[in-house]
């Protein structure tokens, strides 16, 4: 009985707007994640540059890739460290 009245009054909780927005958000996360190898390389170089301020990394063994599943896309970086810089405190003070 109530179900009938709800339906007549249009209180259908489907709310397709929220549905649309959520589906769109997920689709775009995937669309936008198709980063070209060129951009990926740029990102890698930038990361190395920043991290080098603090530690010496093994550039050849460094791995960088995007992981996708149904819910999200994550950036996974595996960066072997050769050595931590002893002088990073001093370096950051000089630059600041």
């Amino acid at each position: 009985m109530w179900e009938f009245i709800f339906r007549v009054l249009g209180r259908d909780n489907s709310n397709s707007r929220k549905h649309a927005k959520e589906r769109l958000r997920l689709v775009l996360v995937h669309d936008r994640a198709s980063i070209s190898p060129y951009l990926m390389n740029r990102l890698k170089e930038d990361l190395i540059e920043v991290i080098s301020n603090y530690m010496i990394v093994d550039e050849d063994e460094m791995e960088l890739h995007l992981n996708q599943n149904d819910r999200e896309v994550t950036l996974v970086a595996n960066i072997p460290i050769k050595q931590i810089r002893r002088d990073y405190m001093e370096r950051s003070q000089i630059s600041s």
Binding site: R11, N15, S16, R17, A20, R23, V27, D31, R32
Partner: protein
């Protein structure tokens, strides 16, 4: 020197041609010298929407390949002396024009016109790259549907990588009643997702079909809601600050009943 604005969308059928025709007409009505360029070679339609299909002698490919001079191919509008159309070729394909040729063409047109509006074909193939080649601004048209917004997102990315920064957004065919009932994405949802500046919202309007039937852009119809929305966008293009149209719908009997029962 005028502005060259490309009207694009990615997805087909969201209203690029209608938008180009209406914005061009509204700008000409405001006294500007305007030329509309149809770059949808092989599937031209801007001529029909403008009601100028019977006046075509030469087309854009005739101009770029040197068969005629630019002035010969420009068709003067029926209503406004300052409005012209450069039609697309119907029997050729998108590769008949190159981005290089489009750049030269737009440079020439900018000398004589305040606004060069380019109607872009659907898709992201060469037709798209031709259409944006000579543009210095871009308007992205979308509708409140997942597929159209998704394509708009892709197009915005392509525009940015082609150095056409800060495109503006038109949301077309919004149905205020459906938005109110939570059955259509609203303006904020779409702007939120696409993250570019909104230049206008066009409500769904049956008068658009009538105006297309007649070949008279809806901006000429003072009673058309979509026409009013396009007139406002034209003023924003000129640099005016114009508020968005009020698209609130009056409460229906059903809504009132729902309020009464406390089920809102």
């Amino acid at each position: 020197m005028g502005d060259t604005i490309v009207v694009t969308s990615g997805k087909g059928g969201v209203g690029k041609t209608t938008t180009t025709a209406n914005l061009g007409t509204a700008l000409a009505f405001a006294g500007f010298r305007v030329v509309l360029v149809d770059t949808d070679i092989g599937l031209r339609n801007l001529d029909v929407v403008m009601g100028l299909e019977n006046r075509i002698v030469y087309d854009i490919v005739d101009v770029t390949s040197g068969n005629c001079r630019l002035k010969q191919a420009l068709i003067k509008d029926k209503r406004f002396d300052s409005l012209y159309l450069l039609p697309a070729a119907q029997t050729k394909d998108k590769t008949s024009v190159s981005p290089e040729e489009m750049r030269y063409l737009c440079e020439d047109l900018k000398e004589d016109f305040d606004y060069v509006l380019i109607d872009c074909p659907a898709g992201i193939e060469q037709g798209f790259y031709n259409a944006i080649a000579g543009a210095n601004k871009a308007i992205v048209v979308t509708t409140p549907e997942v597929s159209a917004v998704r394509d708009a997102d892709r197009i915005i990315g392509l525009l940015e990588s082609a150095e056409l920064r800060n495109p503006t957004l038109i949301i077309n065919r919004i149905r205020p009643r459906m938005v109110k009932h939570g059955d259509m994405m609203d303006i904020d949802d779409i702007v939120d997702i696409l993250a570019i500046d909104l230049i206008g919202v066009i409500p769904e309007d049956e008068k658009i079909i009538v105006s297309t039937n007649k070949g008279e852009p809806a901006v000429m119809d003072s009673l058309s809601q979509a026409g009013e929305a396009y007139r406002r966008i034209a003023r924003r293009i000129k640099g005016e600050e114009v508020p968005l149209m009020n698209l609130d719908v009056p409460n229906s009997i059903m809504d009132k009943l729902k309020n009464l029962v406390g089920m809102y």
